[in-house]
């Protein structure tokens, strides 16, 4: 099980105060905090092994290259990638999805084609497809959600009737916490002849992911949401798709030979890693993965689901609170509104008690329109959160209610 007390000791920032209060960090869906081990790994890398990779004949450069490629192996194992050549390091989920849209999409989507996304997707898994479809004269079809915040399977089926070229969806919704049936959706999309892109930004940090079991074609995630440094992340792809795709960023590392007017490309994954790679990010990601693996992703998922259950239960006891998202199949994300108090005001008031939550559209405006709200407040949990944090959250929410009522009446 998860020993939050011990874990909290690993995170230097949790010792800090927020407005004089114990820091109750509940914005983990936005970004996670970093354990000392990751910070030490960054410092150690720069103090012992830093060099540009892949081209140096000296020992330092070999060490940096080894560290970088070892991180690739770690990521490959972490998600059970098809092959380690199918792991492309990126800055994060957004870049991974844009890479697929810009390379695979531009090469394969044409006028009259359809691309499918869902109404619960994050802007990062919508806007790249909008841009692609506008450029190509293709149609973007947005699958509706059910009243309780799941992908509407009937509408998903209808969307597949257009034989889309590509289907994109989130494994876990950052706004609702919904855990989607990724393997089932992928199977249906494949049966319709589509290539599938799974947005893993909210799944990789929180549950055991196996891309081969999902069976998708592309899977993108961000390191910064899973204890790793900002600027880390990866796109996982079937190698044969990467082989056939045109490059994305032109530059150093990704070429085989450069003529004056044309070039040939390096092998995958290097073909997609133009420019000096962020070795620090890869090294930090590998350490973060090791940290999570040591806890066990199954335990991480269970811990967060448990916290979400408690939070839903306790918040529901407050009159005027509305909670969004499904009752079960929910990850550690709890979105809510409280009477007519605007979420932004709620976040400000909670912050005074050291409770950090997010208020807004959470980069899911299409979803907000369907929920009929301009914004929600969102508490999202991670390995260092405990039931005390939920008590602080609930107490601060009650205070906000009092403040608005007491002073306003």
């Amino acid at each position: 099980m998860i020993d939050t007390k011990r874990i909290r000791g690993d995170f230097p920032i949790l010792a800090r105060k927020e407005n004089g209060q114990r820091l109750v960090y509940l914005d983990n869906a936005a970004t996670s905090q970093k354990p000392r081990r990751v910070l030490d790994a960054i410092a150690h890398y720069y103090s012992e092994h830093n060099a540009n990779v892949h081209r140096g004949a000296y020992a330092l450069a070999v060490e940096a290259t080894d560290a970088y490629e070892a991180a690739r192996t770690a990521v490959s194992r972490f998600v059970n990638a098809w092959a380690r050549e199918g792991v492309v390091f990126t800055r994060g989920t957004t870049e991974g999805i844009n890479l697929v849209a810009g390379s695979w999409g531009r090469a394969n989507v044409s006028r009259g084609d359809t691309v499918v996304v869902t109404a619960m997707d994050h802007h990062s898994n919508i806007v790249p497809w909008q841009i692609l479809c506008q450029e190509k004269g293709a149609t973007l079809r947005m699958v509706e959600i059910t009243g309780d915040g799941r992908i509407d399977l009937a509408d998903f089926g209808r969307a597949l009737e257009a034989k889309p070229k590509l289907v994109a969806f989130p494994y876990v919704s950052n706004s609702l916490g919904t855990v989607n049936p990724a393997a089932q959706l992928t199977k249906l999309a494949h049966a319709a002849g589509a290539v599938t892109v799974v947005d893993g930004a909210q799944s990789s940090p929180h549950l055991r992911v196996d891309v081969r079991t999902i069976g998708c074609d592309f899977y993108a995630f961000s390191g910064h949401k899973m204890l790793a440094p900002m600027g880390s992340g990866a796109l996982i792809a079937k190698p044969e798709l990467l082989e056939a795709m045109p490059p994305y960023h032109g530059g150093g590392e990704m070429i085989e030979r450069v003529w004056d007017d044309r070039s040939t490309w390096n092998k995958i994954p290097h073909k997609f890693e133009g420019g000096t790679p962020n070795v620090e990010a890869a090294v930090g990601l590998a350490v973060a993965i090791a940290y999570l693996e040591q806890l066990g992703l199954e335990h991480v998922a269970e811990h967060e689901q448990q916290l979400a259950r408690v939070a839903v239960e306790r918040l529901s006891q407050i009159e005027g609170i509305t909670i969004y998202g499904p009752r079960d199949h929910r990850a550690g994300v709890v979105p809510f509104t409280y009477g007519d108090i605007h979420p932004h005001d709620l976040a400000t008031i909670l912050d005074r008690d050291g409770v950090c939550i997010r208020a807004g559209h959470h980069c899911t405006q299409p979803l907000m329109r369907r929920l009929g709200v301009a914004a929600t407040a969102r508490a999202s949990f991670y390995i260092y959160n405990d039931v005390d944090d939920i008590e602080s959250l609930v107490a601060a929410v009650r205070k906000a209610g009092e403040l608005f009522r007491v002073l306003a009446s």
Binding site: H342, H344, D345, T348, H361, Q365, A375, A408
Partner: protein, 152 residues
């Protein structure tokens, strides 16, 4: 709790509950839209200019949009500039900005927003309606957003 009390002063909570001039103005001679892309809040502003003064003014915010600060600020702004010349309104905006930037207190009820200074993340909420007013008076027609790298 004292600084929260200074942020959510009685007059602000009151204008949030019952915003003044909360109406569409079909006779408006100037219109502007304001956006706060950070939180998705939006305001529609309607200004009726008669000769050299603002003879009427109204605003709307889409359902559920508009936090207490932005709604109260819009409401108090409309009260403050009604009947004023554009130049006087712009001068008030300047005074309001100066206050948010840490300068002297703005005149009249606008002083209620001095507590916002202690909440940097809310300054854009307080200034949203004023930016829309400025755009309407300049008659640029472009929607304005508070997400500018350089000012608030």
């Amino acid at each position: 709790m004292t600084d929260l009390g200074e942020l959510y002063q009685q007059v602000i909570l009151d204008h949030n509950r019952s915003p003044r001039n909360f109406k569409r103005l079909d006779s408006a001679t100037r219109r502007a839209e304001g956006n706060n892309p950070l939180c998705g809040d939006r305001i529609q502003l309607y200004v009726q200019l008669d000769g050299d003064h603002i003879s009427d003014i109204g605003f709307q915010m889409p359902q559920g949009s508009g936090c207490a600060i932005s709604k109260a600020s819009a409401s108090l702004m409309t009260e403050a500039v009604k009947g004023k010349t554009p130049a006087d309104a712009e001068a008030l905006f300047q005074a309001f900005r100066d206050m948010l930037a840490g300068g002297a207190t703005a005149p009249g009820k606008l002083a209620a927003f001095s507590g916002v200074r202690a909440f940097p993340s809310r300054i854009k909420c307080a200034s949203l309606a004023w930016h829309a007013l400025h755009a309407a008076l300049q008659n640029t027609g472009d929607p304005v957003t508070t997400e500018s790298a350089k000012d608030f």
